[in-house]
Amino acid sequence: MRTDKIAGVGRAPIFRRPFFWIIALVIVAFVAAPLVGNDVELRESLLLAAVYITLASNLNIMLGFAGYVNFGSIVFFGLGGYICVYLISAQGWPLAAAELAAGVVVSLLALVIGLGILRLRGAFFALATIGINEGVQAFVSNFEPWGGAAGLYLPTTIFAPLGGPMRALWIIYFLLVAVMGASLYLSFAIKISKFGLGLMAIGQNEDAAVVLGVPAPLYKAIAYSLSAFLPSIAGGLYFFKSAFIQPSDAFDLGLSTEAMVVVMLGGRGTITGAAIGAYLYEELRGWLLTSQTFSNFQLVVSGVLLLIIVLFVPGGLIGWIYSRWPWTKAILE
């Protein structure tokens, strides 16, 4: 079968597809919405949504495309944050250089780790990712240059090069939206490429994919490394904004979990799903945190939600939309 006959692959250049412009519209909306009326509250809520979308769409590369559960996706976010905060506070690097260094170092680390643990198949890989989260957190808690369990602080003067705290918060927001947009485009580009097709073949049946000539270990390691790059930059920005980082925040298992709930809620393996799931979950979470009854039960609600989705709607929201209106498959990737 020629690849261009398979739905979605090699059909048209990326910018001729409707989904390319849908992503562009989403980015414009994220930039414009808080600017209109200078709405700081809306900006903070959209900032969290952008972080969720970044985490979810990068997790989706492994979980959705390659079918590999990564319980430790938050490691990238946390390590990125640590490297960035450390370079700025202890080495006096400018933000842009520190961000880039964080992204590159974490991706390379992920590639090395990936080449190792991705030789493990299926469930074993999932177990190893749990271990990575625990192991890295234990390592950082004991690593004195990074402040050990107490963490690292940035001085308040850190925002001065960006024109003061007020302006810096806006700049960080726009940068995070850019990272979010880059995540969506990265997922999209992977999905329509031959590489993405290989990943999805691995997700369907790894043995068959290998027999057909997909270099599975290499593809998986590249996917793992790619999915590390943007979350680590997002982590750098996020912890630069809060000017404080400690192991329990940086490697919060809750956030890893939420990213998974988001991907499953929206629909595994679809870019729209990861984005819509992230936005919906962020709204739900905001409501849960402010509600009297549920604020202590956030993990429980995440768990129940995930269980219900896995048991009864494994296709997620997008799966449901696809089956209800089949024509949407051509537009929503």
Partner: protein, 286 residues
């Protein structure tokens, strides 16, 4: 030198309890090819069951064991029907996610009720003194009880009709079904047994060390390391793997701070899985 020997011997005592927990994990894996991520939650549930039964009801610590064994078995059977049964035969990703979500619910409820502070169940037992070193009585009793429970599991699996059915299902589910074994009931029974072993192991750990609601993740990782050492799906290997892990921990704590053990265990876990995918102590499965 004597200090190292004492530390290693203590590690072996503790390791045998890790082995017991890992037997629960590996039994479920062996019978139904399911990685049970509620394992850590079951261990924590066993810890808090001990805490509740001793402090609120006033049951003596070791008398809680039969209650917790039966209780966690029943919980395990119910869990099987809620979170696992529908997903048998689907991609393993789904069962990983569903057991993971049950784990979240349990840990979330635990955190909401008890917070994340440290709990301690005082168990007063005389220790055994050897030269300058004293082995805690709770460690010795835990190791003895572990041996008893592991022995009964062996008797159950190899000398009862139901145990034979469990082994048959582990070997080949379709063939077992064709021979008239009610495989679904065997699966739920095995899941219950696996959870019960985890729960009891949690109780025994709680008699030895203080614990928190979040302790499950670390002990779950230990169980994974043990099963990796012993070979997944191999209860006898799990026991040997547990002792080996205890030994390594006992040695490691002599040379570096305790907080590094998790890092070492994780590295060990990945290394073993890559170098010995069938386990270091993978005896021939019968």
């Amino acid at each position: 030198m004597l200090g190292i020997i004492a530390s290693v011997m203590d590690g072996v005592l503790i390791g045998s309890v890790y082995g017991l927990a890992a037997m629960g994990l590996t039994l479920i894996w062996g019978v139904m090819n399911v990685v049970n991520l509620t394992h850590g939650a079951a261990i924590v549930a066993g810890m808090f069951a001990l805490y509740l039964l001793t402090s609120a009801v006033g049951v003596p610590p070791y008398a809680t064991l039969p209650i917790i064994l039966v209780g966690s078995f029943l919980v395990g059977v119910v869990l099987y029907w809620i979170a696992v049964h529908r997903l048998i035969g689907r991609p393993h990703l789904m069962i990983l996610l569903s057991t993971f979500s049950v784990n979240l619910v349990v840990i979330g409820l635990g955190t909401a009720v008890w917070g994340t502070g440290l709990f301690n169940v005082p168990v007063s037992l005389p220790g055994v003194t050897w030269h300058r070193y004293t082995f805690s009585g709770t460690h010795i009793v835990a190791a003895v009880l572990t041996a008893l429970i592991a022995g009964s599991l062996y008797l159950f699996l190899y000398h009862t009709r139901v145990g034979k059915a469990v082994r048959a299902v582990a070997n080949n589910r379709e063939a077992a079904e064709l021979s008239g074994i009610p495989t679904t009931r065997v699966l739920s029974l095995s899941f219950g047994l696996g959870v019960a072993l985890a729960g009891v192991a949690g109780t025994l750990i709680a008699t030895m060390f203080p614990f928190t609601v979040l302790a499950g993740d670390a002990y779950q990782l230990k169980s994974f390391v043990v099963t990796a050492l012993g070979g997944l799906g191999n209860p006898a290997g799990a026991r040997a793997g547990g002792v080996a892990l205890g030994l390594i921990e006992g040695l490691a704590t002599q040379f570096m701070p305790v907080s590094w053990t998790l890092v070492i265990e994780f590295v060990l876990f990945v290394a073993v899985l890559i170098i010995f995918p069938r386990g270091v102590f993978a005896f021939r499965r019968t």
